[in-house]
């Protein structure tokens, strides 16, 4: 039997309205938990993107002596050429002037550092990308200060690792909280539907008596749960989008260049938001199905 769309829509809407306090509680819990899920996902993507950016751009920085001689420079260059392909993918040479410009950008907020820097005292630098960023230490060792003309070779390995660990832990905490909240929102939806079933037990018993099909009785309740989950998802999508905009504008406002690549492309953001919506709908569907199965004896 075809279930008329009009009937189902009317029933679902009136159920939601009648049960609005429970519905709002369920929707808000779904929204909060899904916001956390969405934020955790975005954080993960942003961090991995940022780390990727760092490790791609500056796997290894070889700072040269400011007073390096031409032959010394050529020797270093040769050494780099030997490792090219096997360890080093590509190197960019920044002379005094270019290096000075980069430093000015990096220490834009610290005039005390800028005060002592001049193009002449700034070490020229080779910024290298490594074939495998994990080998940074080995490669850096072959460019240590014993080599004439080299001041120091640095790699961001250590700090990146710490950052990765911190975000992993943060992510885990967020996800655990999110899962706990998701379970509780599932239970809340289940309970909301249970209340709706109880509030309508007279109608349900009449429907059963006069031969309404089981699905005809079930569908409005299941849809009610689905709508609650979906509405929670929609609110969460808004929160996630807003927090994304907020973080981005903070980065832009304070001109935090090192984090500039943390902002995600729209595609990734949309994908995350769609996922949040799907999880919301799923939670609503599962919660109401359980309620219908348990409390609607048809």
């Amino acid at each position: 039997m075809a279930i008329s769309f009009e009937y189902v829509a009317k029933e679902t809407a009136s159920n939601l309205w009648r049960n609005r306090v429970m519905a709002i509680a369920a929707i808000l819990t779904v929204a909060v938990s899904l916001s956390l899920v969405g934020t955790a996902l975005l954080l993960r993507q942003a961090v991995s993107r940022q780390i990727g950016q760092w490790s791609n751009n500056v796997s290894l920085q070889i700072f040269l002596q400011p007073d390096i001689t031409k032959p010394q420079l050529q020797a270093v260059n040769q050494r780099i050429d030997q490792l090219k392909g096997s360890f080093i993918r590509r190197c960019t040479y920044l002379d005094h002037q270019q290096s000075y410009q980069q430093m000015r950008q990096l220490f834009a907020g610290e005039p005390s550092v800028l005060g002592v820097l001049t193009p002449a005292t700034t070490p020229p630098v080779f910024s290298c990308q490594l074939v495998n960023p994990n080998e940074a230490k080995t490669v850096a060792d072959s460019f240590d200060s014993n080599v004439p003309g080299i001041y120091k070779a640095t790699f961001p390995g250590q700090s990146v690792k710490i950052l990765q660990q911190v975000t992993n832990v943060l992510q885990l905490i967020l996800l655990v909280i999110a899962i706990v909240l998701l379970v509780s929102s599932l239970v809340l939806i289940l309970n909301a539907i249970r209340m709706a079933i109880f509030a309508r037990r007279r109608e349900v018993s009449v429907m059963k008596l006069v031969g309404a099909t089981n699905w005809f009785i079930r569908v409005p309740f299941m849809l009610e749960g689905l709508v609650q989950g979906l509405l929670g998802g929609v609110v969460a999508v808004g929160i996630v989008a807003l927090s994304n905009i907020g973080v981005n504008s903070l980065i832009t406002h304070y001109d935090v260049k090192v984090l500039s690549s943390s902002s995600l492309p729209t595609g990734q953001l949309v994908l995350t938001e769609v996922l949040v919506l799907i999880v919301g709908a799923f939670i609503g569907m599962v919660g109401s199905s359980l309620a219908v199965r348990q409390f609607l004896e048809v």
Binding site: M1, A2, I3, S4, Y7, R202, E203, S205, V206, M207, K208, L209, V210, G211, A212, T213, N214, F216, I217
Partner: protein, 268 residues
Amino acid sequence: MIRFDNVTKTYKGTVAALSDISIEIAKGDFVFLVGPSGSGKTTFLRLLLREELPDTGQIWVAGRDIGALTQGRVPYLRRNLGCVFQDFRLLPNKTVAENVAFVLEVIGRSRNVVRSQVSQVLDLVGLGQKAGRLPGELSGGEQQRVAIARAFVNRPLVLLADEPTGNLDPATSQGIMNLLDRINRTGTTIVMATHDVGIVDTMRRRVIELEHGHLVRDQARGVYGVNDQGASTTRGIPAVALRPIGESADDDVEFEQAAQVRGRRGQR
């Protein structure tokens, strides 16, 4: 229309609610189901609605073994069975017309059908003027009329009534019985469980009496508490008091005739 073949139903840890009941009710019959509380009347009706399954035996409604129906087919069985209860079971927040229309809506009838059928059946029960009222604004008798309209609006093959006059005064009850009688004359089979002595005695229809789950009487034009031998089966009430004055005990003959008629119908 309805046939019980050796039906037994036992609830956990109690004596049988129905034991080895075999009975046939033909299309168009009007049957009173009588017996003291706990005699199995309600179980009889619940089994017919397939709210429960018998432990043994088969129940046939309109030629189908309802025990063999899948869960998904049960609603379609119930569309053929109208139900009326002692406590009316109307939806208090819907108007009279909405209460009746609800039945048709939930089985997916089109809006045009709903509109015409509802006003037609409300006129039949004499409530055409009160279609817009809420059940709470009606008298008990009127509420029961709404319940009957709701049970009948889908033109069921059988109307089951569980003490429909239990909450009503005698005059109002008579009105309800007249209505049921009219519905019966449209060819609808009626099975009515009742304690109402006066009604059974004035209607003189088929009486099926249950006691402790046993079929103790099946009489074609029976009265409330008297069996075929003229002895009271209803404890505490003398048979003489129940038998309408001027009626002779010729029920046996009629029962035989009615049984033959039913037999012929059954063969068809």
